[in-house]
């Protein structure tokens, strides 16, 4: 675990012994106190034996520390059978002398007491067992059984105190289990003897769901997480979940990954989400949350990355079928092993356990992107506080691993999503909002980026259309009537086209008229010319006739004069000459 690494940093105090139990080492900043006894207290069925056994099994298998399991209640065979389901290979570890199981049988009915005694026999057995496998870890489960086997409590208490002192000097890291009851931490006050480190396990049922919790009550000489942490006993033993990771020091990646929708990438500074960021997609019912998720998942698979899809409303085959209808083929990636679905209702196991399941699946599959669709379903399994803390933990967990988290959130029809999700919004890096826009007797989807940390993102609302080829984003029409989408947008567009056409036609018409006018003008000019010319002709003819007549008159006068032998100097003759000139 990563916490094992941090051990060195915090290791100013005592030395730690890693348990290998997921989450526990993190809470305890490295593990149990090395070379000291730790008390694990809890009621019946709270998981003490599993924790103790996992401590030993992982110690032997992962940390090369052999162990002795001294069982006062269960026989070795029982232990092997009971813990086989957690994947601890006890028979093999025992055969390889890594773990020694010693069943200590205490039966009051067989024993009669006569005079003073000590528990030296137990010491001898334990010492012998430790020597046999060279053990560094010891489990005593549960030593309280001794109280039922021996009647002389004062001897027993003195001997137990001696046992724990002895364990310390032997330098073994010991886990001692104790059963709590009657409101006490342990029935017989074992905590008096084991005071270095106390872990309390609890198994309670709240609203019909069982919740296991763990708390480090005391840890001398070390810092530790003090909260109650949920844990799960799963297929691989115990997983403990710190409510929040103890430090906020995950790396921030500068790498960007596509959203799977080119237009949406453009809205996000042209590159998409940051890798390892958390994305929230909220919207009402039927706004297309799952479709956008599927796009994102497909894009990841196309890049060759693993994607994990947690569905709490639809089964995987439903998702595959539904996404096929909009042209997103997911079955192919699922078959390739790049895409894994995990469908479970959170209400089935309770929030905490669901979270542990998520952790387990994520740890095992190691995806690059995780989709949780929808996170709002967690609300059904817990109250708002719990949901918030759970999401915080999921986000922390994903960020620590540089996994991009994509969460969808169902918002109520009329609520303002910015208000309703105020609880988690601060933990979200990129928040996309889907809105239903209702007008003109139809419903259309719109998408916008509410926030996106660390990038210049678009402030535009885009219409979001599901087609048989997938998701498309379109520009919305912004006119005097506000934002227009769907058929209104189409109608507006058609109207615009029509008016453009009309203007074009008008222009054509005007142009035609102009040329017609020009022709008309030309014709008119031509006609005037003709008129003018004929007039001119007429006038000229007339003038010529007049002149001719004058000449004839003059000639006639001359003739007359000649005949009359009149004077040559005649005024009329003079004037006529002038006119002719």
């Amino acid at each position: 675990m990563s916490s094992a690494k941090s051990k060195g940093k915090t290791g100013l105090g005592i030395e730690k012994c890693p348990t290998g139990i997921r989450g526990l080492d993190e809470i305890m900043l490295g593990g149990l106190p090395k070379g000291r006894p730790t008390l694990v207290a809890g009621s019946a069925g709270s998981g003490k034996t599993v924790l103790a056994m996992e401590f030993l099994a992982r110690g032997a298998a992962e940390f090369h520390e052999n162990g002795v399991y001294m069982a006062f209640e269960e026989t070795g065979q029982d232990l092997i059978e009971n813990t086989a389901s957690f994947g601890f290979n006890l028979p093999e570890l025992c055969a390889r002398k890594k773990i020694l199981l010693d069943h200590v049988h205490v039966d009051r009915s067989e024993i009669e007491e006569s005079g003073a005694y000590s528990l030296e026999g137990l010491f001898v057995r334990l010492e012998n067992a430790i020597k046999t496998v060279n053990a560094k870890r010891v489990v005593l489960d549960t030593i309280e059984t001794l109280f039922s086997g021996f009647s002389n409590e004062s001897i027993l208490r003195a001997e137990l105190a001696r046992l724990f002192r002895w364990l310390k000097t032997a330098g073994v890291t010991a886990v001692i289990t104790g059963e709590s009851g009657d409101g006490l931490l342990t029935r017989h006050g074992l905590e008096e003897y084991v005071a270095d480190c106390v872990i309390v396990l609890d198994h309670r049922v709240a609203e019909q769901t069982s919740i296991r919790r763990l708390r480090v009550m005391k840890y001398r000489g070390s810092l530790h997480g003090t909260n109650e942490y949920a844990f799960l006993i799963g297929k691989k033993g115990i997983s403990v979940l710190p409510i929040t990771s103890l430090h906020l020091d995950h790396e921030a990646s500068k790498a960007r990954i596509s959203t799977g929708i080119p237009r949406l990438d453009t809205m996000l500074d042209g590159k998409g989400f940051y890798r390892g960021s958390s994305v929230l997609l909220s919207g009402g019912a039927g706004t297309g949350k799952s479709s956008i998720s599927a796009n994102f998942v497909r894009a990841a698979c196309e890049r060759g990355e693993r994607a994990l899809y947690f569905a709490s409303e639809q089964s995987p085959s439903e998702i595959i079928r539904n996404m096929n209808s909009i042209g997103i083929e997911l079955a192919r990636w699922a078959a390739k092993g790049l895409l894994r679905f995990h469908a479970a209702r959170p209400t089935l196991v309770g929030l905490e356990q669901h979270l542990v399941l998520l952790h387990e699946v994520i740890t095992e599959f190691a995806p690059a992107v995780v989709v949780i669709d929808p996170i709002t379903n967690f609300g059904a399994a817990g109250n708002a506080m719990e949901v918030k803390s759970m999401l915080t933990r999921i986000i922390d967990f994903l960020k620590e691993r540089q996994i991009t988290g994509f969460f969808t959130s169902l918002t109520a029809a009329n609520s303002n999503p910015e208000e309703s999700e105020v609880g988690i919004s601060s933990q979200i890096d990129t928040w996309l909002l889907l809105r239903n826009l209702e007008s003109n007797g139809e419903r259309n989807r719109a998408l916008y980026v509410l926030k996106s940390r660390g990038m210049a993102h678009s402030n535009q609302i885009r219409e979001f259309v599901l087609t048989s080829r997938g998701v498309e984003l379109l520009d919305v029409y912004i006119g005097s009537g506000g934002v227009l989408t769907g058929t209104a947008r189409a109608a507006q567009e058609a109207q615009e086209q029509a008016s453009v056409l009309a203007e074009k036609q008008e222009l054509e018409r005007k142009r035609a008229e102009l040329s017609r006018r020009r022709v008309e003008l030309k014709e008119r000019i031509e006609a005037l010319h003709w008129d003018f010319r004929s007039e001119e002709e007429k006038i000229l003819t007339c003038m010529r006739q007049i002149e001719e007549r004058e000449r004839q008159v003059a000639r006639h006068r001359l003739d007359m004069a000649h005949l009359r032998r009149a004077d040559a100097a005649n005024a009329n003759g003079h004037r006529t000459r002038n006119v002719r000139a």
């Binding site: 006569s114 005079g115 005694y117 000590s118 030296e120 001898v124 057995r125 012998n128 021996f150």
Partner: protein
């Protein structure tokens, strides 16, 4: 090994009616007291028909698991069956008698 008849003969040292094993750990005062007390007890109540084996767990620690020994000293009655255990330094003869089924618990106070 089946126990022989009640005959108190001293034939083979192996075929005794009472076969007792006393677990001790080193030569502590309790151990020494237990050995001494056992000897006195046997002489008085078992009329020679017994065999005592003293096991020092410091020398043979692996033997502790076999008889599920926790307390020291522990006297184990191997024979006659069933196996009985008496823990302590055997200073209280009454409890030893009860533990070895030589006397029913009569104390009805």
């Amino acid at each position: 090994m089946k126990p022989g008849k009640h005959a108190g003969g001293k034939a083979g040292s192996k075929e005794k009616h009472w076969k007792l094993r006393l677990y001790v750990a080193g030569h502590t005062s309790k151990s020494l007291a237990a050995i001494a007390n056992l000897q006195i007890f046997c002489d008085e109540y078992l009329s020679g028909d017994y065999q005592i084996e003293v096991v020092d767990l410091l020398k043979h620690p692996q033997l502790a698991a076999g008889d599920q020994i926790l307390a020291i000293p522990t006297l184990v009655r191997k024979l006659p069956t069933p196996v009985k255990k008496i823990i302590g330094d055997l200073s209280k003869t009454e409890q030893v008698l009860v533990g070895l089924d030589l006397r029913q618990e009569e104390q009805t106070v």
